[in-house]
């Protein structure tokens, strides 16, 4: 995994509350045994019509939003199932950051482990981002700041450990594997 320091992209708004992981990736696409290729099915039932053609009404299908990598979602994004296929699908579909007023615990955990930034902002900041959807944003992970043109920047906080791992481009398993001595000691003490 290469380090992530800055994301610069236009934003796209999906202001629906409680977008659950079944919407992000329906269960019928969880039969895969790999992580790859799920992007086509991100938001499947909103994005594609029953005949397989793109739903022209769905915001991510509109040509003016092509390439937008920052999703401004409604309140409580990512609730429901623990499926990590949700961040895998979003990343594969080109989304690099999700911003909401609240992000469900398991989704946020999964997202940060895969380099998808899950950013929580205040309701007023959220309203401002939604109102300016389509603007070009720069998300600076080092500074934990969203820089905007013509608007005040927005500061945010992500879990410092996950942030450092993302900046350094290392995964968290390495850190855990380096704790083997402590783990063995804990196991012996309980035996």
């Amino acid at each position: 995994m290469s380090g992530i320091a800055r994301i610069r992209s236009r934003s796209v708004a999906l202001p629906i509350a409680n977008i659950d992981t079944d919407q992000i990736i329906p269960a019928r696409f969880l039969t895969t045994t790999t992580r790859a290729g799920l992007g086509r099915h991100a938001f499947q039932d909103w994005r594609w019509l029953p005949d397989g053609s793109p739903n022209p009404e769905f915001v991510l299908n509109r040509p003016e939003h092509a390439g937008a990598a920052v999703l401004i979602a409604g309140d409580n994004f990512g609730c429901g199932s623990s499926r990590e296929h949700a961040p895998w699908a979003l990343l594969d579909a080109g989304i690099q950051a999700v911003i909401s007023t609240a992000i469900a615990d398991i989704f946020r955990n999964n997202a940060l482990k895969n380099g998808l930034l899950a950013i929580v902002v205040t309701p007023s900041e959220h309203a401002s981002l939604l109102a300016a959807a389509g603007e070009t944003l720069t998300i600076d992970l080092q500074q934990q700041r969203i820089e905007r043109e013509g608007h005040a920047p927005i500061d945010f906080r992500v879990d410092p450990f996950a942030r450092q791992c993302l900046l350094d481009g290392v995964d968290q398993l390495g850190y855990l594997l380096a704790r083997q001595v402590s783990i063995a000691r804990f196991e012996e003490a309980r035996a």
Binding site: N18, D22, T31, G80, D105, F161, L173, L176
Partner: protein
């Protein structure tokens, strides 16, 4: 003297390394449950890095999500939905063999939905930390275990190290006082609380359910309630172990036996919140006010009492009304039903099947309704058949199936048709959860059975038989 919550005691007992400046805590995991859907990428990770499973004896696998609920053919073959689901099942069989993990596969008399099977085996015990790549791992909190769902990357972490990196969550007490009215089930209570707390109300928190109404619940009912904690946004739900917990576990396959059990029980009973322990948030629920409750919207927080009218239209619920094709301020009872599903890790245990059978006995479901009854495990299937419940379901016109997750998420192909309305004892009413365009009404087993009989969403009280005085 400092007082601690049950959560705090569980957390402290599993700290391999405490959290520090910018670093998460390292938490030891006592039991890791594995199923076919969220594990293949984790096993691949181990393979790529040349790692082994650190504690195979703390790892327990089953087949539940992708498995057909129709019986195997004489030659042992099964009607999988497609090649991918079969390959996923085969991948878990192979991974368990390669990594030395015990799998309760098709040949096991103990196979079942992961959150039904592990408690039945006594693998789930008070005072443990339990994880699984499945959000409904919260179910096991009914035993006073800290149990929560994780993603596939973390499944790999636990396989390789038996540990997880965690930040300490906040605590929330849901104090349920009084008594549930007669005929009101744990599922009604869970839906009622989800309506009160909201689907994001528990985010960042571990909920402890307490109060006299909780103490009065059976273990099966406690599992139903803790199962739905995730639908309140919480990572985990907890209920302190008591005599009910101890007696339920006594004699099960994986618990200590004899004097060792008594010693374990004594230790387990210490896992309770001290009097006066402080929670970050407290919610009070009056059990006496809870009625038979169903969901009407597209998240489990949009609920209504079965005899009440739907809310007025608002910006926050317009989308749900549109998807569900329901009218604001109209009653939910009387809505046309196409399919009824009794099953899932929420409501597929023997008491759930008895509740449904009680209403169906000697009656026929409405001619236009298709009803699936899917036991949670092989054990429950045997028990139900020994009691003749399968015959009650079949005689009523329902289908009696093999154990699995089935129509809760429809991965195995057990789904409804676009536009159909399903009264379901499962846990999620998300758009498309039970098939594209399918509308889900979450309900208790009794409400599901009553709705199958009436052919419309129905109040179970209308179908409950007059009690014979004891």
């Amino acid at each position: 003297m400092t007082t601690s919550t049950l959560f705090e005691k569980l957390w402290q007992a599993h700290l391999v390394e405490a959290d520090g400046e910018g670093l998460p805590a390292v938490i030891y995991i006592d039991l890791h449950l594995v199923h076919e859907v969220t594990s293949p990428q984790a096993f691949s990770l181990l393979g790529e890095r040349g790692l082994r499973v650190r504690q195979p004896q703390r790892t327990l696998a089953t087949l539940d999500h992708s498995t057909p609920t129709t019986p195997a053919h004489a030659d042992g073959s099964r009607d999988y939905l497609d090649a991918a689901t079969e390959q996923q099942v085969n991948a878990l069989v192979r991974n368990c063999a390669d990594f030395g993990v015990t799998l309760h596969g098709y040949d096991s008399p103990d196979r079942g939905i992961v959150h039904v099977m592990a408690p039945e085996l006594g693998a789930t015990q008070p005072g443990m930390t339990i994880v699984c790549g499945d959000s409904h791992t919260s179910t096991h909190g009914a035993f006073g275990a800290l149990a929560f769902g994780i993603g596939s990357t973390e499944v790999g972490h636990v396989l390789a190290t038996q540990c997880l990196l965690q930040h300490k969550p906040k605590t929330m007490a849901v104090n349920v006082r009084g008594r549930l009215p007669r005929g009101v089930s744990a599922k009604d209570l869970a839906l009622h609380i989800a309506g009160q707390v909201g689907v994001a109300g528990g985010t960042g928190h571990v909920i402890e359910f307490c109060g006299d109404a909780i103490r009065a619940l059976t273990m099966e009912e406690r599992m139903t309630l803790c199962n739905m904690s995730i639908e309140m946004g919480a990572r985990a739900g907890l209920i302190a172990p008591d005599a009910t917990t101890i007696e339920w576990l006594r004699g099960r396959k994986m618990v200590p036996q004899g004097a060792a059990f008594e010693a374990a029980a004594k230790r387990w009973l210490g896992f309770r919140s001290d009097a006066g322990a402080r929670f970050d948030r407290e919610v009070l629920i009056d059990a006496g006010q809870v009625k038979a409750t169903v969901s009407w919207g597209t998240d489990p927080g949009k609920v209504v009492a079965i005899d009440a009218s739907l809310p007025a239209l608002s910006p926050g619920n317009a989308r749900a009304f549109e998807y569900m094709r329901l009218r604001p301020e109209a009653p939910i009872a009387g809505e046309h039903v196409d399919v009824v599903f009794v099953g899932s890790c929420t409501n597929s245990r023997i008491n759930d099947l008895r509740d449904a059978a009680e209403l169906l006995r000697g009656r026929r479901i409405a001619a236009h309704v298709r009803m699936l009854v899917v036991p949670g495990s092989e054990r429950i299937k045997r028990e139900a058949e020994a009691e003749g419940l399968d015959r009650v379901f079949r005689a009523a016109g329902a289908e009696w199936r093999e154990p699995g997750c089935s129509m809760c998420l429809g991965m195995n192909g057990d789904i409804a048709k676009p536009g159909e309305l399903v009264v379901s004892t499962s846990n999620r009413n998300f758009e498309g959860r039970q098939g594209q365009g399918v509308r889900t009404v979450l309900a208790s087993p009794a409400t599901a059975a009553a709705s199958a009989l009436a052919g419309v969403v129905a109040d179970p009280r209308a179908w409950q038989r007059t009690e014979v005085a004891a």
